[in-house]
């Protein structure tokens, strides 16, 4: 057990910090805001490309894919340094963290060159087409069909919750290619350019604001997709799905730890009840860091303990929610103000700056719903960590 990182990791941190200090976009440059998770303003494209070209975009990748073969601990301090300056490495986070990562794991060399590198250099943006009206937590029930017709797949069906689809150039789409196989076994993955005839995207607002438009419904009507756009083997899509989501799971807890630390900064307890909740928040943040660093140590040894990461997601997302609710209640009627200015001004992260307490509480539900609901996480932990029987 140790309280600090080894010197080589700290040297890596210092090198990246120096790069950031020299290259961080200035306030004058960053006027245009990102409107969805696949809309990337010109300045943010330049920023991401600079990171890619300098090997600082995804340091765990090899140099040709925007990295420098960094260890998992180095990847962790990289994210810490980015967050400390309140900037993202990409404004198309799913494109970077899930789609490009999946292509690098499961795609052909041609697909890496043609799709992954342009996504990493944000010449194009990408969105993830997984959920459907009848397939949310039960993802393997998805029904969007793809039928091979000569050298093309013909796709029919519907996706929903497809974040950023209306601004994305390509969708990584999970489709059913064998309707007769058991449900986990007949799924495949296709890259579908959004300008293909028959693709219709319908964005809709979130509960946060009618103008907070990231969700999409995507309809596929006889969409012809070149067979070469198949990612991984035919009917091996469930394997790709697990790998795709696994990419973002290892360090997902860090985003909750950071939200908790922001709350500890922004929430000013007034009375004894507030202070009681505040102390729980401080403890949750510390515990998450500790448990996260243990998970990091396991990952550094090459162990993938997906179920243990569910514990971190559960703890982190619910702690953020509880603390946000308490901060809202403490603010009283002022919590209704929208926008609300509850965080310090940060030109690289205006959304946090302008969110009121009620909004912050409402947003916390993204944490307990997206990426596997808390209920699903509890069932995973019960069965895979505690060894309780399946129902």
């Amino acid at each position: 057990m140790q309280l600090t990182f080894d010197a080589d990791v700290e040297r890596f941190r210092a090198e990246f910090a120096a790069f950031l200090d020299a290259n961080l976009p200035s306030e004058a440059e960053t006027g245009e805001r990102a409107y969805s998770s696949a809309h990337v303003p010109e300045w943010a494209r330049r920023w991401q490309r600079l990171l890619f070209d300098s090997g600082w975009l995804l340091p765990g990748n090899p140099p040709e894919f925007g990295g420098r073969n960094a260890s998992i601990l180095e990847q962790y301090v990289h994210l810490e340094e980015l967050d400390r300056r309140r900037i993202y490495h990409s404004f198309n986070p799913q494109g970077l963290g899930i789609i490009a990562a999946s292509l690098l794991s499961f795609g052909s060399e041609e697909q890496k060159r043609r799709w992954a590198v342009p996504i990493l250099r944000v010449e194009i943006t990408a969105a993830l087409g997984m959920s459907e009206p009848g397939a949310g937590s039960d993802l393997a029930s998805l029904r969007t069909r793809a039928v091979l017709d000569g050298d093309h797949f013909v796709v029919n069906g519907q996706k929903i919750w497809t974040s950023g689809a209306h601004d994305a150039d390509v969708l990584l789409t999970f489709v059913r290619t064998d309707p007769d196989a058991p449900k986990h076994k007949g799924i495949s993955v296709l890259l579908i350019p959004t300008d293909t005839p028959g693709v219709t995207r319908r964005p809709f607002g979130s509960l946060i604001d009618r103008d907070d438009v990231d969700f999409n419904e995507v309809f596929f009507d006889d969409v012809r997709v070149p067979a070469e756009n198949l990612v991984g083997a035919l009917n091996n899509g469930w394997h790709v799905a697990n790998g795709s989501l696994g990419h973002e799971r290892t360090l997902l807890w860090l985003s909750f730890a950071l939200r908790l630390e922001e709350l500890a900064r922004d929430f000013r307890p007034v009375d004894a009840l507030d202070r009681d909740a505040y102390a729980r928040l401080v403890m949750d943040a510390q515990a998450l860091r500790l448990l996260g660093s243990a998970a990091l140590a396991r990952a550094a040894r090459g162990e993938q303990d997906v179920a243990a990461l569910s514990v971190l997601k559960l703890l982190g997302s619910e702690a953020v929610q509880k603390a946000s609710e308490q901060a809202m209640e403490s603010a009283g009627v002022a919590a209704l103000e929208h926008p609300g200015m509850t965080a310090p001004y940060a030109h690289l992260n205006l959304e946090a700056f302008s969110a009121g307490w009620f909004e912050r509480y409402a947003r916390s539900f993204a944490g307990t719903i997206a990426g596997g609901t808390s209920e699903i996480q509890r069932t995973i932990v019960a069965e895979r960590v505690l060894g309780l029987p399946r129902s």
Binding site: D276, M283, Q286, A297, V381, L386
Partner: protein
């Protein structure tokens, strides 16, 4: 920061656990609770194995490992009081194998020609009735006093193997050399961390027993552990335990490293353990149903030890008040 045991620590934990499975089984605890059996031979086992020599602050994590396992086993000896109450207040005073505890409040010291006169009564002193020596905290410093010089009476408590005593010092004369020079503020951190680890160990035992029960107990033609309502309660126990355990070892690590966060960390450990026992007691006893509500079921020993830990040295709410104050003073 890498927060996991190294290979020596893993081996140490395994060794401790194996000793306790053999030397401190539920039958022994039951013999003490029901027939008044003497735990002294068990104490000598600990001393012979060198567990009582973990007195250096730098060994706090190794000591923490012992304490968690002892919490798991519902340790019936005065190990916790000796190692985390007495020793930090009176370092180097006791010989190996001697037991100790501490009187933390209620006693005043008056100077006279020959030294000091200690007077007062302290209630709820852990192992006050069976410690060889007591460290007595007063406004004039900490004094090490032989047990023979005080009057101690064991008080009946709900945890049948826990020793709690009322200790009175009716004008006990001690020399200046009885002052230990220890700082009670620093000693507090290990006492809190020790209790937190005891609670964590006891809660781990409750969870293990509960999981065994819900895996095997069948109703409506299925193990009750297959029902979602049961599963989710068990997971809440597990998450609370993971959180409390992490904070307890963090506190031990800050003591070992003499990190400036040690005071905050000790309160976080105690508060998190308190929150953990609340969930674990409630869900554990509930999921066990009527079977857990019997004297015959060994579940009771771990349940009672977990709650006893919460009630000693300030509960979770009291420590959360300290945490809010301490954290905001340091960060805001």
């Amino acid at each position: 920061m890498l927060f996991e045991f190294d290979s020596d620590q893993r081996l140490w934990q395994k060794t401790i656990h194996e000793v306790l499975v053999k030397e401190c089984p539920p039958a022994l605890i039951r013999g003490i609770a029901d027939e008044g059996a003497d735990p002294a031979p068990l104490w000598r086992v600990y001393a012979d194995l060198g567990w009582t020599e973990l007195t250096e602050p730098s060994e706090a994590v190794e000591l923490a490992i012992v304490l968690e396992e002892l919490g798991w086993a519902t340790d019936p000896t005065p190990y916790l009081a000796t190692m985390t109450w007495f020793t930090p207040l009176a370092p180097g005073v006791a010989d190996g194998g001697q037991t100790g505890s501490a009187v933390l409040d209620g006693v005043s010291a008056r100077r006279d020609r020959d030294g000091w006169v200690l007077s007062g009564v302290a209630r709820h002193v852990l192992d006050g009735d069976r410690a060889d020596r007591l460290a007595v905290v007063t406004d004039a410093g900490v004094f090490a006093v032989p047990a023979a010089d005080v009057r101690a009476t064991r008080v009946d408590v709900f945890d049948p193997t826990l020793h709690i005593a009322e200790v009175s010092l009716p004008g006990v004369r001690v020399g200046d050399d009885a002052r230990t020079g220890a700082d009670p503020r620093a000693a507090r951190d290990l006492a809190l961390t020790g209790l937190a680890l005891t609670i964590v160990g006891a809660c781990r035992r409750v969870l293990e027993l509960t999981l065994d029960h819900v895996r095997t107990r069948e109703q409506f033609g299925a193990p009750i552990g297959s029902f979602q309502a049961v599963k989710h309660k068990a997971v809440d126990m597990h998450v609370a335990l993971e959180r409390a355990r992490a904070l307890a070892y963090f506190a031990a690590l800050t003591i070992a490293a003499d990190d400036p966060r040690r005071r905050l960390a000790a309160s976080m450990a105690k508060a998190a353990a308190g929150e953990c026992q609340s969930v674990v007691f409630r869900n554990g006893l509930q999921l066990f149903g009527a079977m857990g509500f019997t004297w015959e079921n060994d579940l009771q020993f771990a349940l009672k030890r977990a709650v006893a830990g919460e009630l000693l040295l300030g509960g979770a709410a009291e420590h959360r008040a300290l945490i809010a104050e301490e954290y905001r003073a340091a960060h805001v």
